[in-house]
Symmetry: C2
Subunit: 264 residues, 2 copies
DNA sequence: CGCGCTCTTGAAACTCTTCAACCTCGGTGG
DNA sequence: CCACCGAGGTTGAAGAGTTTCAAGAGCGCG
């Protein structure tokens, strides 16, 4: 597992007209405009009053292998990342060295926002599978005020969104039992797949059972038991990481989302 | 309990030279410069490159009485608030109508950030005691990009801070037992009092036991039992809401903060 | 092929919640 | 002035849910 600076080695991005020779890693030159996630990663493209400036500073990194770090807890904060493909987890370490997962990040989602206000990343980010990200270099927003109103707003909105998600997770962790937590977790994942126009009721979990447990504040064994119980109840069909949601409505009811389901 | 719009009735702020006649509510005219919390609420005043513009838009509201709402869950997002005096709690409602507390807000701290990216406040904010706030009208940061770099940065930093605090709370809720939660809660409060140059080891809790429980994901009875146990262990002395921390170090150890204690 | 990791399952142990009772205190009204 | 009342707080005992410990099955990979 390499460290951030090596791991995220940036490509030289070719400008629109300029034709550069292929670099060693032979990665595709990319533009946000070409990206299949553009509408998700940069929503409201009508809002593009930066004249393309925002896009110019976003660069795609070389792919991360499974188990590779995007950044580590304590690293100097450089930039925020948008996931292009694959999946990441962010986590910190507890006193006894146990890994405590704070989030999973799928394509079209941003990673690293929590480091924004300070000099360092407060958690580590690691690839759960072959993963590609786009790097949004911000240095310190403090020292170098962004002159890109569009991107700034987008970041603001994402942070606010993450704040609300976090609060909802806190409610989940304080008040919900194991069944409700797993149900909510599956429904949440389902919605995130749907937002990418992927099958919402049939997907592959990018994380292990024990990672689900760490995220939801449950022991692995409990996660496993709940999965088994859900299958007996015909709510889901699961085979390893492959999951079919058989009864989405019942599952949603079980999850019992209440505060604000609507992401606005 | 009144609604936001009535509750937060703004004063006309007098300009520096202009002498206006007292208004009916006879509240003191205030400036950020005069505020005892200025260095906390607006840290790094050397950084004041807005030429005072940021300060101009901040207005102090009339005091809220205990039990009065600052805003309600679902209200349209108008502004962020800085607490001047008193204390607030923010909370949502669960399916069964139970109140779920997401945070306590003491003087010098901001309230309402989680509504920033959307049109509405995702939680309610209510005064735990006589409370005064300063209103920072932002409308929608989206539509009306702030031209106040200093204030914008301050908000950014606060959101990021809140993100990290939230993640730490999630760790607390997933992994810590009742003793550890209460210890962490007291240590956190202690630090927040200290940052205002108030006694860090002797303070009055602005919230009820059941509110502590709601915040920490514990039953009231559990909170009460832990308080009793801590007193038997001579970690604290508590009489109602009045708390003395007798053994700050032991309490910190018990709390076992690990991820990032340093607020940067 | 076997080793290790993941996942599953069972039984015991433990923590926290729930239910119920009681206490204290401050406010209110007789 | 005192009794009453309700809210907040404390304490005990029973019960539920989850963790922990232990063992075994499945599976991929060197």
């Amino acid at each position: 597992m390499e460290h951030d600076e090596q791991a995220v080695q940036l490509l030289q991005r070719s400008s629109a007209r300029e034709h550069t020779k292929p670099c060693q890693t032979s990665l595709p030159r990319t533009h946000c405009q070409d990206c299949s996630l553009a509408t998700l990663c940069l929503p409201n493209s009508s809002d593009f009053d930066d004249g393309g400036a925002a896009i110019e500073i976003v660069k795609r990194s070389r792919p991360l292998k499974r188990g590779e770090y995007l950044y580590r807890q304590g690293d100097q904060f450089n930039c925020v990342f948008a996931v292009c493909s694959g999946a990441l987890k962010t986590f910190g370490l507890s006193d006894d060295g146990e890994e405590l997962i704070t989030g999973f990040h799928l394509p079209s989602e941003l990673v690293g926002l929590s480091g924004m206000g300070s000099n360092i990343y407060p958690v580590s980010a690691l690839a759960l599978e072959e993963t590609q990200v786009c790097r949004i270099p911000l240095k310190q927003l403090d020292e170098q005020p962004l002159e890109l109103p569009y991107l700034r707003r987008r970041l603001m909105r994402c942070m606010s969104r993450e704040l609300r998600d976090n609060q909802q997770m806190r409610l989940l962790l304080s008040k919900k039992n194991a069944d409700e937590r797993i149900a909510a977790f599956l429904i949440d994942l389902s919605a995130r797949f749907r937002s990418r126009d992927l099958p919402a009721n049939q997907f592959r979990l990018p994380m292990l059972r024990n990672e689900i447990g760490s995220y939801l504040g449950l022991a692995v064994e409990t996660v496993s038991r709940v999965f088994t119980r859900f299958q007996q109840m015909r709510l889901i069909a699961a085979e390893g990481k492959e999951v079919h949601i058989l009864a989405p409505l019942e599952l949603s009811t079980l999850a019992g989302w209440h505060l604000d389901d609507s992401p606005i």
